[in-house]
């Protein structure tokens, strides 16, 4: 007997400040005006998506000592935009990336609890951390955190915020006009937390919010990150979008849940995914090729190569061969404020791989960069894309996808109009919202006493994603 078909979860990622976003397209609108955010959110809600997702970066990126100017630059404040979006949507979840290094638990907890109240239970928090003194130059404490302490900081930050969320158990607001009792318990919100990062005590000032606390997201991939997610997160934001890769990740992380007494459906695995649609598969492939060339201009290709080589390569021709010199050894100093450069753990080996791949395919620098940074997950006619998404989810490569359009703000419209109805016809995606909170959309159990006792504590650490797209 086959198991019932899994329901797919879908989310919309506001296009990021990276080269996935094609700002040169004539249809490309503002990345800062509220109307763009409202457009994407309304499209996502019309399509019955689970949530909208915002990334964050707290310092503008630089390369070779100058502000990076080839991609979209600039973004609004995450909390403020999400609160405003709560006014123009009714059901859509509102997920924000908030850094645990350059914030304090009391303030972040009151902001998320407020957002959850003001949205009627739709808030989610993607917990990230950074350590770099580059970003720290914008904040009171500067780059105070040693790199290897960032996991611990994030872990204790989340645990502390959880204690604040739980300091109101619900039901304290009586507001009985007759008896004159407003608060059932004078001690509501009382907390004390002491560890090496936070030494705080007092009374939290926001009553328990509709969801109890925001839905917790974790982004990243390390061993510690996976363990943290298994212990404490409600969803993981990953980059494992292919079948085999996704299945391996999925099996690994879901397999860790039992150790924490959690059911397999209480942690969702949601890879980021891009898409290009066409009337036919051939049309879509052609369009996708054009998009890749728009995303990786000759200049952008040189910049990407510099990030690996850790050298000035401005003298190289993007339409010519890869540099035959080796990457500069040591800490990457050419690109700052960009988490991706830390992924090159062995630049010499990566450069050798790239050279081999370029030689085999007779690829220029630009063509090679297009190949190695290709971010197109789903390309095809609507029926092809719907089938691909459903197949991956049913095969346990993921529980759904966070879709990243490459055009702002209308890049999701066609997906909503042409792909979502096909998924609904297949019976694998909701045709309307069944609940009002994000926890309900995601199929997460309501938080009860048990959840308060254990889960909020957090086991391992969230991953490092200082500048997640």
């Amino acid at each position: 007997m086959s198991r019932p078909r899994k329901q797919i979860h879908l989310a919309a990622h506001f296009p990021g400040v990276n080269n996935t976003t094609v700002w040169s397209d004539p249809r490309s609108g503002s990345h800062i005006e509220f109307s763009s955010f409202a457009h994407l959110a309304r499209t996502a809600e019309r399509a019955k998506f689970d949530f909208l997702f915002l990334a964050e970066g707290l310092r503008l990126r630089e390369q070779s000592g100058q502000i990076y100017d080839l991609d979209v630059v600039g973004r609004p404040d995450t909390f403020t935009v999400l609160a405003a979006l709560a006014a123009v949507t009714d059901r859509l979840g509102l997920a924000g990336t908030i850094n645990s290094t350059f914030n304090e638990p009391y303030e972040v907890a009151r902001q998320f609890a407020s957002l959850d109240h003001l949205s009627g239970g739709r808030a989610a928090w993607n917990v990230v951390t950074s350590w770099d003194s580059f970003t720290g130059e914008n904040f009171r404490r500067g780059g105070f955190l040693p790199q290897d302490a960032r996991y611990e900081r994030a872990r204790t930050f989340l645990r502390t915020a959880g204690e604040l969320f739980d300091s109101w158990r619900g039901g304290e607001i009586v507001a009985d006009k007759e008896s004159g009792v407003f608060l059932a318990d004078a001690g509501a919100g009382r907390f004390t937390h002491h560890d090496s990062h936070f030494d705080i005590s007092g009374q939290f000032s926001v009553p328990r919010s509709p969801q109890g606390r925001p839905v917790i997201f974790q982004a990243g991939d390390s061993e510690e990150g996976r363990e943290f997610a298994a212990s404490s997160a409600d969803a993981i934001f990953t980059r494992h979008g292919t079948l085999e890769d996704g299945q391996a990740f999925y099996a690994d992380v879901k397999g860790r849940l039992a150790r924490y007494g959690r059911a397999r459906d209480q942690l969702l695995i949601l890879p980021a995914a891009t898409f290009v649609l066409g009337d036919t598969d051939a049309d879509a492939q052609e369009l996708a090729k054009q998009v890749r060339f728009q995303q990786v201009s000759g200049q952008t290709a040189i910049m990407f190569a510099e990030q690996l080589w850790n050298r000035d390569l401005s003298g190289y021709d993007p339409d010519g061969p890869l540099p035959d010199i080796d990457p500069a050894p040591g800490e990457n100093t050419i690109a700052r404020g960009r988490a991706s450069v830390r992924m090159y753990r062995d630049p010499l080996a990566v450069a050798a791989q790239w050279r081999a791949r370029a030689a085999a395919g007779n690829l220029s620098i630009r063509e090679l960069i297009i190949e190695v940074t290709g971010r197109q997950t789903f390309v095809g006619a609507p029926a092809t894309v719907a089938t691909a998404i459903d197949t991956l989810v049913q095969a346990d490569a993921s529980d759904g996808f966070i879709l990243v359009p490459h055009i702002t703000p209308g890049g999701l419209d066609e997906f909503a109009d042409r792909v979502v109805p096909l998924l609904q016809e297949r019976g694998v995606f909701r045709s309307d919202y069944q609940g009002s909170t994000l926890r309900e959309h995601l199929g997460l159990a309501p938080l009860g006493e048990a959840a308060r006792a254990g889960r909020a504590a957090g086991g391992a650490a969230p991953a490092v994603s200082g500048a997640a797209s």
Binding site: V73, R75, P76, D77, A83, A84, E107, S114, H117
Partner: protein
């Protein structure tokens, strides 16, 4: 105040004074501690968006310049500087910036001025939050900066100690030094917010397909602020907001000129140095005159001669034919007579209009009214006081500008980092 001037019959023989600027200060169910028990109060909705949307919409129907939204980094307390463990008054609140953002798309004209506590928070975060409030409200954002002196709020952050002082003893040099430090930090905080708002020139985003550049990075600027309390590099991650500079407000308590009341030096200096709008708490027109003189002196000392700083007096208002009786009943329910830093007004809207016009002559631009009870006293402001002032030609009859700066008669400022002539007017 117990007595009100008789309705003034003196005729304005010269040009009428400029129209008043009117705002309301929103805080929970109203400013009286027993307000939440009134028949029309909605105490169980204070943590919902619907409540805030309704009260701000009511303020907008009254064509008010702006609303402020109170905030703090701890539970409300009736005891100065420490928690009171009371359960018979409204306790708990939502973040004011997020409330403002939540109501912004639902309103079109009214300014939104949330409170931001500057003592324990990050100016970089606050700057982009207010810039973003300006985007989501298309040019109606302001911010009221407030310091936190209480040890229990400091303990929520655990980052700095607060000296064990009796803060009411303003004659104690240690208290004065501590308070001066808080206000000095506040002024630096505003300076950082303002520099960050200007750290992108208006036309920095060029989207130049020919050169592949999204921005002209020569039009982005490091702010390189280094002060006693923090250093901030910049530029902001958020482009310059629609108003260029959102409106900055601060409250300065006091009853007279700074030279007679040394404790007021900090607040007046903050307003004079950093604010576009100062809220003050005179208890009569004479005090208002002295306060205005004190702030103008601080303004001149800060090198801002000729710039507009609006001075608005705060008043807690209980309005209606039976306002005195109503306030008395509220006091009885609360178990004590309500006291406030600001003057209390009980009377009819027409009597309040008289008082506002009289005090205006002391050099005030207008008022920030604190409704004693929501929605009763808010509606008395928007539905009775405003029409009365309109009949007297003392208040607008329609919104005349699309931005908060516009409503306050403040131009769009040049960008401090742009070469002369390069800033959009």
């Amino acid at each position: 105040m117990g007595r009100y001037p008789e309705r003034r019959e003196h005729v304005l023989t010269t040009a009428p004074p400029p129209a008043l600027h009117l705002s309301v200060a929103l805080d929970g169910a109203g400013w009286h501690p027993a307000a939440w028990r009134e028949p029309r109060a909605r105490p169980d909705e204070l943590f919902t968006a619907r409540y805030w949307a309704d009260v701000v919409a009511e303020a907008e129907r009254g064509l008010l310049d702006f609303v402020t939204i109170e905030d703090g980094l701890g539970l409300q307390s009736a005891r100065y500087g420490q928690p009171d463990a009371r359960t018979d008054q409204v306790r708990g609140r939502l973040d004011a910036v997020l409330i403002a953002a939540r109501v912004a798309p639902l309103t079109r004209h009214i300014g939104l001025v949330p409170t931001v506590i500057v003592t324990h928070t990050e100016p970089f975060h606050a700057s982009k939050a207010i810039a973003t409030l300006d985007y989501v409200s298309t040019g109606r954002a302001g911010v009221r900066v407030r310091v936190s002196s209480s040890p229990h709020e400091a303990a929520h952050f655990g980052r700095r100690g607060v000296p064990a002082l009796n803060l009411r003893d303003r004659a104690d040099p240690a208290v004065r030094e501590f308070i001066a430090g808080l206000f000095g930090e506040a002024a630096d905080y505003v300076e950082v917010m303002r520099r960050l708002w200007d750290s992108w020139e208006d036309d920095a985003e060029i989207r130049d397909a020919a050169t592949g550049r999204f921005i002209d990075r020569d039009k982005l600027h490091y702010i390189d602020f280094a002060g006693d309390y923090f250093s901030v590099k910049g530029p902001s991650i958020t482009p310059r907001p629609p108003q260029g500079q959102p409106v900055v407000a601060a409250l300065g308590h006091g009853t007279g000129p700074a030279e007679t009341v040394p404790a007021q030096v900090g607040p007046y200096r903050l307003i004079g140095r950093a604010a576009d709008v100062g809220f003050v708490t005179p208890h009569d027109a004479g005090q208002a005159r002295g306060i205005v003189a004190g702030i103008r002196a601080a303004q001149d000392a800060a090198g801002r001669v000729g710039e507009t700083i609006h001075i608005l007096a705060d008043l807690v208002v209980f309005l209606g034919g039976d306002a005195v009786g109503r306030k008395h009943r509220l006091d009885e329910r609360a178990g004590e007579e309500y006291a406030s830093d600001a003057a209390l007004f009980t009377g009819t809207p027409a009597q309040l209009a008289d008082l506002l016009q009289e005090w205006q002559l002391a050099g005030l631009s207008g008022f920030r009214l604190r409704p004693g009870v929501m929605p009763d006293d808010l509606e008395a402001i928007t539905r009775d006081l405003v029409p009365e002032l309109q009949r007297r030609g003392a208040f607008r009859t329609a919104y005349e500008a699309g931005t908060l700066r516009g409503l306050l008669g403040l131009g769009r400022p040049a960008n401090r980092y742009a070469p002369a002539g390069r800033s959009r007017p």
